[in-house]
Amino acid sequence: MHGKLLAIYNDALRIRAFEKAIGVMADAGHVPGLVHLCLGAEVLQATVCNALDSKTDHVNGSHRSHGIALASGASPFKVAAEILGREDGLSSGLGGTQHLFAPEQGMASNGIVGAQVPLAAGAALTAKTLGTHGIAVCFFGDAAANQGAVLETMNLAAVLSLPLLFILENNGYGLSTSSSYASAGVNLTERAKAFGLESISLPSNTITDQIEQIHIAINTVRTESRPLFLEAPIPRLTGHYHGDAGNFAGDTDTVPDPLLLLREFLDAQNIDTASVKEQSSTEMDEVAGRALRSQAPSPQILDTWRSILGATE
């Protein structure tokens, strides 16, 4: 178990270092549009993706999915290059920060709030139909939980008994709007239950319990081939997007930084974490530098796409 925890910590740290590097590049004007960093969600994303098998499993994330891409095993260099809009990016710069596609790692993300959730149901259906014992996972935010796409899919997944794990990344906010305003009802876990889903809300402060619960959930979805809903409270350590006014960030008092909690736990077990930290930031600084040196994609690829998709030419 300690090995697993260290691996998760390592992955989570790498994500944080990656996001920090992206932030630095954004501040320097290298990121062409707005980026939504996943600071605060790293441990969750690392824990989940670590437990998946990219040969059979699929993950679909929201606009805030850099961490999921990395944790799924996509090359940080390619992810960074995609975010920068460079030729070496996952999609040669066609997609960008919100549209990360790493099918070999079974990972994709989405720019439309909630739209990834039905897509994940499709991945679950594939696994079920082909009998791969694979599962699908979708990550979505607390605000996405009010989209028809998400609500319909909860029902559909239950009806078809799809091996689909719903993961609600509850950071308390959608853009500037608090979840306490936008979502009626006792809470979103109870809402999911009402769709016939087994639904679990992670405890917010015992990091090892959280990780264990996640492992159990994944195992249940896989072995019982049915959907399950998991609500994970996570802090929003930055604003909605990197560099926004940031007045609507979440409250780290009620939801402490999971990465900190995990480090404290490892420290208490006398497990060395300093070197891992060192390594991850060195790695990500190098990655960022390399991504920055990647070329802009040549406009010629537009000609290729024009001829692939063209309607009249």
């Binding site: 039905p118 149901a121 499709g122 139909t129 319909e152 899919t153 029902n155 559909l156 078809l160």
Partner: protein, 334 residues
């Protein structure tokens, strides 16, 4: 040769496709029918196109859904992206409004956004068209609107052979394809090759050769156009009738070559009066065959209004054979 209706041809093609490839699944509302009702009888979809599939291939591959188009169309896209070949039925194309994000932003863009890492062997089958007093939300013809979305393929068969053949091509196309089946044609029978050979997407077909006017049309309007052309022939006017079959990609070559010959273009369509298929074809010809045009290209479409319900209005709203005959004559006098 055998005689099949559009509905039968589609049904047989579905049987063939499912028999040939275990990864083909069919998904939609009531496509099995009677789910949870304790009835063993299958409905086979609102129009009966999917009948017998569940009995043969099982409900693991022929899947009834709740009325949740966003969820199940999205599920189809996600399944196509991960190894299945889904054929999704949206009962009426009018209902695409409720799942339009999945069509416009997800299905249409995934191949591009993934830089071709992901291709989508996905077909969305749906019905279209007016004429049966189904009212404004069950009678639309959205082929033009869909074709304006980059990344989608859009086809509109006018007969059994094309329906089955285009369905087959659609499922092996790397792009998501919307197959629009006209409600008024489901029972139309024609003689067809029982093997139901694939019909390539993007190829129109000259149904009648002619010299005076090029008439481009699709779907149910094809039959009015053919009737009009036959009538006009009696008056010595020969009309070249082209069934475009595919809206996107459009067989621009075939159309412009014909216009190069005739010098005159009439487009007949029951889709949008403004910015629909008719405008697409006219714009294409105006740009590519301008030197050949002897007169202004014309279109015959319904007025730019929703589809009216009352039969007296609906029949008037729809282009008719006499409208087309008049249109051709006007064009020749222009």
């Amino acid at each position: 040769m055998t005689t099949l209706s559009v509905k039968q041809a589609l049904n047989q093609a579905l049987h063939q496709l499912m028999a040939a490839d275990d990864t083909v699944i069919v998904v939609g509302e009531d496509i099995v029918g009677g789910a949870g009702s304790g009835s063993a009888e299958e409905l086979g979809g609102a129009f009966g196109v999917t009948s017998g599939l569940a009995a043969r291939f099982g409900t693991a591959r022929v899947i009834d859904t709740p009325i949740s188009e966003t969820a199940f169309v999205g599920m189809g896209i996600g399944a196509a992206a991960t190894g299945l070949k889904p054929i999704i039925e949206v009962m009426f194309c009018d209902f695409m409004g409720v799942c339009f994000d999945q069509i416009m932003n997800q299905a249409a863009k995934m191949r591009f956004l993934s830089a071709d890492q992901i291709q989508l062997p996905l077909v969305i089958r749906t019905s279209m068209g007016a004429g049966d007093s189904s009212g404004a939300m069950h009678s639309q013809s959205l082929h033009g609107l869909l074709a304006s979305i980059a990344g989608l393929r859009v086809v509109c068969p006018s007969n059994a052979a094309d329906a089955a053949g285009l369905l087959k091509s659609a499922l092996s196309d790397p792009n998501p394809v919307v197959l629009l089946e006209h409600k008024g044609l489901y029972d139309l029978e024609t003689d067809i090759d029982p093997a139901l050979p694939a019909v390539p997407i993007g190829q129109g077909k000259i149904l009648i050769e002619g010299a005076a006017v090029t008439l481009v049309t699709v779907s149910a309007m094809v039959h009015h156009a053919v009737k009009a052309a036959k009538q006009l022939e009696k008056d010595g006017i020969t009309v070249e009738v082209i069934d475009a079959r595919s809206i996107s990609p459009l067989d621009s070559d075939l159309i412009t070559k014909s216009v190069a010959k005739t010098g005159r273009l009439l487009v007949v369509d029951e889709g949008a009066a403004f910015g629909g298929f008719a405008d697409m074809v006219i714009a294409e010809v105006a740009q590519k065959a301008f030197p050949h045009l002897k007169a202004a290209p014309r279109k015959i479409t319904p007025p730019h209004t929703p589809v009216p319900y009352a039969p007296s209005l609906e029949q008037n709203w729809l282009p008719s054979t006499p409208d087309i005959i008049q249109g051709v004559k006007d064009l020749l006098n222009a």
